[in-house]
């Protein structure tokens, strides 16, 4: 393990941890602009997390240990995912631990625990939210896997750094299959991050919420960790999307220090653009009924499968 690789790993992890709430704030700000509202401060997520860390935690009397450890597991899973996804450089020592399939498993682990914790207290909203979350999750996961398989077919490996290396390294080559995978991935990440066509992140209206319903019983540092983990999840999904579909600017292979430092502003610019695109999608679309979710995610799955078929037909 070279020092440059270690540096890129640590820098990437630190950037993910620190910038994830900023990305969330940026998306909220863009959305407010687009909807002609006065925008909240871009630093609002940081203030929220700091405020929550200073409060005293209240835990329901009948809560089991699962309820207490879930925030830590969810946060750890998202932090590990942030270490695996190549966003700055592709020479990541951590990334050898897990490939693309294990990454999907990591997201699933976080989902299972958060759903268990929501059902643990036994409130109606918690279990309703948990059921809906699993309902969305079991439809989104195969589509995400298919998207990653399409990228794997092109590069011949399921290891994320290898995929990104081969996509970023080849000369100007257009992969039509990635167009399908890109659309499918956008749909999946909207659903997975509780964004508008499936869930409204701004709502506290009990009957329509999915992600928020599961967090109702959490307070203080537990809630802070979960909020931070959701911001990290959005960051991770954005980074996966950028790495697969816009891999330019990333430090390839065993890069030197300068290349790694130089990749940082490129990443931030790409994330700013991606966040604006997300806000635009959210503004332009309306929330679907929950029973339309299978159709939405089924379409994502079919598009990802089509991507694989086109890959077979056109050879790339």
């Amino acid at each position: 393990m070279s020092p440059a690789a270690l540096l890129s790993q640590l820098l990437q992890l630190a950037i993910a941890m620190l910038l994830a709430p900023l990305l969330l704030g940026w998306v909220n700000q863009c959305r407010a602009w687009l909807q002609n509202k006065s925008a909240p401060s871009i630093l609002l997520p940081y203030r929220l997390i700091r405020k929550l860390f200073h409060k005293d935690a209240v835990v329901a009397v009948n809560a089991s240990p699962i309820f207490r450890i879930t925030p830590y597991i969810v946060f750890a899973a998202m932090a590990l995912a942030a270490a695996i996804v190549p966003s700055l450089a592709t020479d990541l020592p951590f990334a050898r631990v897990a490939d693309a399939i294990a990454l999907v498993g990591l997201f699933a682990l976080a989902r299972v625990f958060i759903a268990l914790a929501a059902m643990d207290i036994g409130t109606a909203f918690g279990s309703m939210g948990a059921r809906r979350e699993m309902f969305v999750g079991f439809l989104a996961e195969p589509a995400l896997l298919m998207v990653l398989f399409t990228a794997s077919l092109i590069s011949g490996s399921t290891s994320l750094p290898t995929i990104v290396d081969s996509l970023a390294h080849s000369e100007i080559a257009i992969y039509p299959s990635l167009a399908f995978a890109g659309v499918a991935f956008t749909m999946v990440s909207l659903a997975e991050n509780a964004r508008i066509p499936i869930d409204n992140p701004a709502t506290h209206l009990e009957l329509t919420m999915v992600h928020e319903a599961m967090l109702l019983e959490y307070s203080a540092r537990h809630l802070a960790l979960i909020e931070w983990a959701s911001a990290l999840k959005l960051f991770n999904y954005s980074c996966i999307g950028l790495a697969l579909f816009f891999p330019f600017g990333i430090a390839e292979g065993s890069a030197d220090w300068l290349a790694i430092i130089g990749a940082t502003p490129v990443l931030i610019a790409k994330l700013a653009f991606g966040g604006f695109a997300l806000a635009l999608i959210e503004t332009l679309s309306a929330k679907l009924r929950i029973f339309r979710a299978p159709e939405f995610l089924g379409t994502a799955f079919l598009l990802a499968v089509l991507g694989m078929l086109v890959n077979q037909l056109l050879g790339g």
């Binding site: 000369e171 379409t299 037909l313």
Partner: protein
Amino acid sequence: MANVPLWAQLINLFAAVLLLLAFAMLAQRRVLTLIDLFAAQGFALACSTAIVAYATHQAHLYWSAGITLLLKVLLLPWLLHRLIRKLDVKWDVEGLINIPTTMLFGIVLVVFSFNLALPIAQLASTVSRATLGIAMASVMLSFLMMITRRKAIPQVIGFLSMENGLFFAATSATYGMPMVVELGIALDVLVAMLILGVFFFQIREQFDSLDLQHLEKLKESE
């Protein structure tokens, strides 16, 4: 992939976009968006034809790209929009089977036509021969759309987009048909559109609806 020239990659990309739009049309519930998607498909077709023309130095393909642009991106969508405004039919598209099932059928059709096109494409000598499968798939998907839609306007859009697929098959397999044939087809599509527009008014006058199931009845009293 890197040894294929850029223009061939661009043709492949537009072929993929064509297929993507065919699927989007299959999944679409609103008539107005359906027309916009049809216009977008026409635009992708015009672009890919222009690229084939540039790559193979065939001047007449520029003409057919121009005709496609004029007819399928501007004129036909405008006619359809006008028709919808006059008929005052902005309802959602009604399907005979629900949309997820239709999409599943669609994917089966894509697999079928990819397999069917594979041996044919090996006989062709053009660079863009691999896209023949995609062209066939979009023809099949438009067929499926015509079959599964209940109302008249989505069926007509399916018919028009099927012509898109056929046109794309012609350009990708043989670098386009003779100019006379292309002009004839373009005129045919335009005339068909006009006649079907008149038909819509007649059908609605008779049945107070554009639901084509009414046409299946033979007697008036039933």
